[in-house]
């Protein structure tokens, strides 16, 4: 995983609650056995007027001019602003893969689907929980000021507006923060505990032998 450095980027607003992972990346694209290449089909059913199929070039598609991410002013956006319960539903990690592949580094919302939240952290995509009022304020700013950018400062756990220096603090587990800042592989860290896992496993086997029969 890449280190999550201080990030400054253009913000795109997606003003909708309960955006599920089926909407983020529809099922026909889950047939891939790769981790990459999902960005072209991010929000496929909303972004395009034709029904997307795996392997079809983006040049042959008909973009939906009414979808916010297709507006010229949001091209190159790297921070997505959304409403509550973003990423609910299916556990597909293809959702954060698609968001990251498209170019997003962070998603800001009042709440997230839990599995999506975990999956994002493992892919260097930072899910940031701000209060409903703070998210409202950001929607107001991003709609009002073309080119609106935010600075995501993970080290200091805050989001800062570039224009007027407004700052919003956010919470994150110290362990997750450490992994993101240093680009650490979760599995490698857990494998440093091999002896403890083995010890637990031996005891577990004694306690519930039928689980190992």
């Amino acid at each position: 995983m890449e280190k999550f450095a201080l990030h400054k980027g253009l913000v795109a607003p997606l003003d909708r609650a309960n955006i599920d992972t089926d909407a983020i990346i529809p099922k026909q694209f889950l047939k891939s056995i790769k981790r990459s290449g999902f960005g072209v089909n991010l929000f496929d059913a909303w972004r395009f007027l034709d029904v997307g199929q795996p392997g079809v070039s983006i040049n042959q598609r008909r973009p939906n001019p009414n979808f916010i991410l297709n507006e010229p002013r949001y091209q190159g956006a790297s921070i997505l602003l959304a409403r509550k319960n973003f990423g609910c539903g299916s556990s597909r990690e293809h959702a954060p893969w698609a968001l990251a592949d498209y170019g997003f580094k962070a998603v800001i919302a009042p709440s997230f689907g839990e599995i999506f939240f975990n999956n994002s952290l493992k892919n260097g995509l930072l899910p940031i929980v701000l209060s409903g009022i703070e998210v409202d304020a950001l929607f107001h700013d991003v709609l009002g000021f073309p080119g609106f950018q935010l600075i995501v400062d993970l080290e200091n756990q805050r989001v800062v507006t570039e224009t007027n220096g407004k700052s919003f603090n956010f919470q994150i587990d110290p362990f997750r923060k450490h992994c993101l800042l240093n680009g650490l592989d979760d599995i490698g860290l857990t494998l440093e505990r091999v002896d403890e896992i083995k010890k637990f496993e031996e005891q577990h086997k004694l306690n519930q032998p039928w689980l190992f029969s």
Partner: protein, 470 residues
């Protein structure tokens, strides 16, 4: 200290706890399917790692598999590659059990786990699939994980987790005829919303829960995730133990007795503290139908499609308007006036034998309504299908004009050829009515098997209590 069922399951699997409360949790059962595992095995291979304990792995192919023409194999080459990749990975790395495409025991991973006795009380169970919550019906800690976590469990047999909060959903009273676990699940989500359970493990309890079969309990725990909770669970009782006895991978002999004696402790201590309690009166529940594009958009069958004009909160009003537009519904329409085009009885929510029995009871001697273009039953597993056929249920469906299919996930998420076309309206026993879930532009109404069956023969939604009276 008094513990909840979830506390007990958590505590018995903690390998270590970090200062910030993060736990390293040992995983007993790892269920694998073809969609969320290939990248995990690839990662394992690239890092030159081996699975920690292949005996924990039970695998099947279910999402991409066709439900017709099995003699032709999997025709879609991309789907076939994914299923073949699972075959290869299991062959290369091993498993406790593998039920590949065409095996007589193949089926939806959340149906076959319990059916084989491969999920047991007291276990931690994970799968790269959000409906892993299903298995909590057997008093285990079961939840969905992403592909990175699949790889993590393969490599370390553990997961890094934050402990969830405890929620108790108590359902007291007695369900009326024609009202089922699915209606409890939908009514609960209608009450607390799709994010109501976020951050919680839900335990279901109360006289109604105790009266449910294990199949019904699975339906309920299955949809905990639709209430935002990764895990749902139900305490062990005699129903649980009777269900497991004699199943293929359930313990035998002395180990069985030892296990049962431990399993009986898997219930919340009387007086244990829950962070949140929700109660439902089971006696007042009526059959539920969703009208929108989120499972929380649900009403009783006597209800009407809501009118956004009556919603004061602007963002909720916009949500209702968007949903009605997508669903092609007018405000204030009676649900019993909504005509349907297709019927899907299946999915990890409702494809077990009791679901198929109740649907067969409703359609027996009747015909699918002329406006319904396709009504299909997709059993949850090969074993469910065989049992239903032994009971003659397939003949009832076929005589009524239903299609009787091979097992798999099918039109719940439409990764295979079973799908809705744009604008088609479906009465579905599945779990998600999201936009496009059952096919781009498709319109899904979530209902119980009895309600789907009655809609099939009636052509519109109908109160199944008019048909089932005992």
């Amino acid at each position: 200290m008094l513990k909840t069922l979830y506390d007990k399951l958590w505590d018995s699997h903690v390998v270590r706890t970090e200062d910030d409360g993060t736990g390293l949790i040992y995983i007993d059962r790892h269920l694998i399917h073809e969609v969320t595992s290939p990248q995990a095995y690839e990662g394992l291979k690239l890092a030159k790692r081996r699975p920690w304990r292949v005996e924990s792995i039970v695998a099947t192919a279910d999402h991409n598999t066709p439900t017709t023409d099995w003699d032709k194999g999997i025709e879609d080459p991309i789907s076939k590659l994914q299923v073949d990749t699972l075959d290869q990975n299991i062959k290369e790395y091993g498993s406790k059990a593998y039920f590949p495409f065409l095996d007589s025991r193949q089926g939806i991973v959340h149906v076959i786990g319990p059916e084989q006795g491969a999920t047991l009380p007291g276990m931690t169970v994970v799968c790269g699939d959000s409906h892993t919550s299903t298995h909590g019906a057997l008093a285990c800690l079961a939840h969905g994980i992403g592909t990175s976590e699949v790889e993590h469990v393969l490599a370390t047999q553990c997961l890094v987790q934050k402990k969830m909060k405890n929620m108790l959903v108590r359902v007291e009273g007695q369900l009326g005829a024609g009202v089922s676990a699915k209606d409890i699940a939908l009514a609960l989500i209608g009450k607390i919303g799709t994010a109501g359970g976020t951050g919680y493990a839900i335990e279901f309890a109360g006289s109604v829960i105790e009266s449910l079969s294990v199949e019904g309990r699975m339906t309920l725990c299955n949809m905990a995730i639709e209430a935002g909770a990764r895990a749902g669970m139900i305490a062990v009782d005699q129903v649980t133990i009777d269900y497991l006895h004699g199943r293929t991978f359930a313990p035998k002999g002395d180990l069985w007795d030892q296990a049962v004696s431990y399993w009986r402790s898997l219930r919340s201590d009387p007086g244990a503290i829950f962070d949140l309690m929700v109660t439902l009166n089971g006696s007042e529940l009526i059959p539920q139908v969703t009208w929108g594009t989120s499972p929380e958009m649900v009403v009783g069958i006597d209800g009407r499609v809501p009118d956004p004009e009556h919603e004061k909160d602007p963002s909720k009003r916009e949500g209702i308007e968007q949903a009605l537009k997508y669903m092609g519904l007018e405000p204030n329409t009676l649900l019993t006036e909504v005509e349907i085009d297709k019927v899907f009885i299946g999915s990890c929510t409702n494809s077990r034998i009791e679901d198929i029995r109740i649907a067969a009871k409703v359609v027996a001697g009747k015909r699918v309504a002329p406006n319904v273009q396709l009504a299909m039953v997709v059993p949850g597993s090969g074993l469910v299908k065989t049992q239903a056929e032994q009971e003659g249920l397939d003949k009832i469906f076929i005589a009524a004009g239903f299609e009787w299919r091979q097992p798999g996930c099918s039109m719940c998420l439409a990764m295979n050829n079973d799908r809705l076309e744009a604008g088609e309206r479906c009465a579905s026993t599945s779990n998600r009515n999201f936009e496009g879930r059952q096919g781009a532009g498709g319109r899904t109404h979530l209902v119980s098997p009895a309600m789907a069956a009655s809609a099939a023969v009636n052509g519109t939604f109908v109160d199944v209590r008019e048909i089932i009276t005992d």
